[in-house]
């Protein structure tokens, strides 16, 4: 083997490596931004502003439609119809010791089913199972987001 041929091979290899290096740095000229999901971001910004889970935010919408006239938008018992009620609706944000089954019972069977006044009606016949689920989830979130 002639030394000149070896030399030529080394030079070729060097040029090749150099080219690869240049090409690869050319391709990655800066840190690439991670591709975003604008649709998802828009929905999250819209509905998780109050830091609610999905089912809680669905419940919030139902709460506004069916419950807020008496219980108030935030469940504080200050709805526009609250002054007509005796006993008045409770502040749901401070209610303690109410487990999921209890809340479900009040929503689905009415407050009379738990031995209190009959002013909060039963919704179990009117709303779907999913809707009651969502309302329960939202009511449970009320205490959590009190601060």
């Amino acid at each position: 083997v002639k030394p000149s041929v070896v030399k030529l091979g080394v030079v070729k290899l060097g040029i090749g490596l150099l080219l690869m290096g240049v090409l690869s740095t050319g391709c990655r000229s800066g840190p690439r931004p991670a591709p975003g999901d604008p649709l998802l971001d828009a929905i999250r910004a819209d509905e998780r502003g109050a830091n609610l889970s999905l089912s809680e935010s669905q419940g919030k919408r139902l709460f506004a439609q069916y419950c807020a006239t008496c219980h108030g938008d935030e469940g504080r018992g200050d709805g526009q119809n609250a002054s007509n009620l005796s006993p008045p609706p409770p502040d749901l944000t401070t209610a303690t010791g109410r487990d999921t089954a209890y809340i479900r019972k009040v929503i689905a069977e009415g407050s009379a089913a738990t031995g209190r006044s009959a002013l909060s009606p039963p919704w179990g016949h009117s709303l779907s199972l999913q809707e009651v689920d969502a309302l329960v989830a939202f009511c449970e979130s009320l205490g959590r987001h009190k601060s």
Binding site: P33, P38, L39, A45, L54, Q58, Y66, G110, L119, L129
Partner: protein
Amino acid sequence: MAVEMNRLHVAFACLGVAFLLIFSWVLFHEGTAEWRTTQARFRRFETTVKNPHQLAQSAGVAGLRQIWLPDLGRVDRCVTCHLGIDDPAFAGAQQPFEAHPGTWLTTHPIEKFGCTACHDGQGQATDYRSAAHRPLPFVLRPMRPLETIEATCGTCHRSLDPPDAPRLAEGRRLIVESGCFSCHEIPGFEGLTFRGPALDSLGYKVRPEWLPLWLRDPKSYLTRSKMGNFRLSPGEIAGLQAFLLSQRASAPLDSTDIEWARADSANGRALFGELRCVSCHSVNGRGGTMGPELTRIGDKVRRDWLFSYLKDPHRVQPDTPMLQYRLTDGQLRDLTAFLLEEYRSPETGPEPPRVTYQDARLVTSGQAVFERRGCPSCHRLTAIKDPGRIGPSLAGIADRDPDELPYGRNVVRHTTDNYIFLKVLLPDALAQPSSMPTFGFTPAEAAKIALALASVRKADLPASYVLRRPVPPPYRPAGTFGELVARYRCLSCHSVGGYGGSLSTVPLDRIGSQLQHDYLTGYLLNPGAVRVSVEARMPVFHMLPAEARTIADYLSTVFLDDSLERYDTSFTAADRRRGQELYGQLGCQACHQVGSRGGYVGPDLSGTGARLKPGWIAAWLLHPQVQKPGTLQPDYGLSAADAGALTAYLGSLGSGGGPREREAAP
């Protein structure tokens, strides 16, 4: 020769070893597959969740499990790892063993729907990564995050108001309200029409200086304008202005005798309130949305046109939902003067004279723009024939290849969802010229529209899976009653057989069995508030007494439900007492007033005896959601006897809330 044989022996030996290695690797790999280790984990976990008795009953898991749905072309092996998915014992357990949250599997049995029909993802995969729980290169439909899952609800639920999918419902409502289907074919929205105002007489209607401002940016005049911004050049605007202001098909009704100097705008203000204009039109951000906002109407229209339009809106706008009040010329004058004085910008000057364009070239160029940008899709103009839909069809848009769609300079993950979202939000920001107007949707609105469109798939599902949108047949009554229905546009707010508007509280289908005839007549002449908390109210039509009688007679004769009419009303005093007790026990007073005591969420029940028919009261109390879907009246699950007792009590209530005087027997 011997050397040759030796070489072959060595080669065979090597191959043998290689096969053995590969074989043992395959065995090892298969034995430690992700799904096997997961199932082993599950068996250990199950013993911590269940007691020995339950364990003895449980079927034990071993091997691949799958749900095969030939109708949907799906094989879902998700249940190979999600082993507790339909077992309530695993509620709230660690993943992947957690039971499905909520009650969704009750309404959507897993044997019929599988998993990927709702969640998307790779159903046939048996490990976490290739099931595409997270986005994966080359997988067109990775699992949907919960935020966008309503898009798959929409593939089966085709109605405009699908249950338990509020974002999808809102998206479809926005599509209907914005009339996207005027320019695009969208499967699921067939037969719906969207109409902007007819432009045949625009030259008489608007002040010339208003039109270019509107064309440049409709939102600058109405923040909630339904018309998008077409991003027109000044030349295009000038042409359109000339073309549109030359449209003078029918002159306004004669108002030369009107003494405008004597207009009493205080009376106009009183009329504006009494006619309940705000049920449909908003002013200063409050009011209905069926008609255009009136906050700056004085900057837009001419006085003689407005007078003429209020007198007879149907002459120039045959499709308008606006009713024709029965007002005198003096009342119309006062109302016109009030609207133009009250709702205008301070800088708006007196009304300029009409402009006549002599430059035929300008008018022709305006007509070309009008046709090219698809204006006739929404605006009727007799001079122009309807060119059909100008935009591309959106059939199967959710199945477009995301990598072939343009995303412009936006650094986003390439999904059809993101493409649709960006296109709806910023039609001109993608890397292709677009003639679609910018509608000015908020990102939240655009996202909901995108969700609704993401449910428009290419391949159609088997009919047994699809819940189609009901398409009610048009209701157009004939005769005098039909003329009155057309004049007072009853069907803009009320519906018959599902056809018509939804602003009113109950459909009219059985209104004759709901309301007493005399009450109906009186209500048509002077509609009061039945529900004080509801803002939209029936307008005071200034109807003639004879007209009210005609309508009431017709409704009480035709719109009947025989099952309600046959209701047995032989109540005893004991029934009424029992009803009164029940009224208190059930808490009705929380929402209803009787004699000014009680809440005001539902209607005031004083005087119910003169208002409602007993058969209706009973039917309503038994199944309110059947009579009016979505009503706030709760279904108490009453027995027929209890509903009867309540009916007896309510039917006995006079207008003061006390017992009603018994009418003398005929």
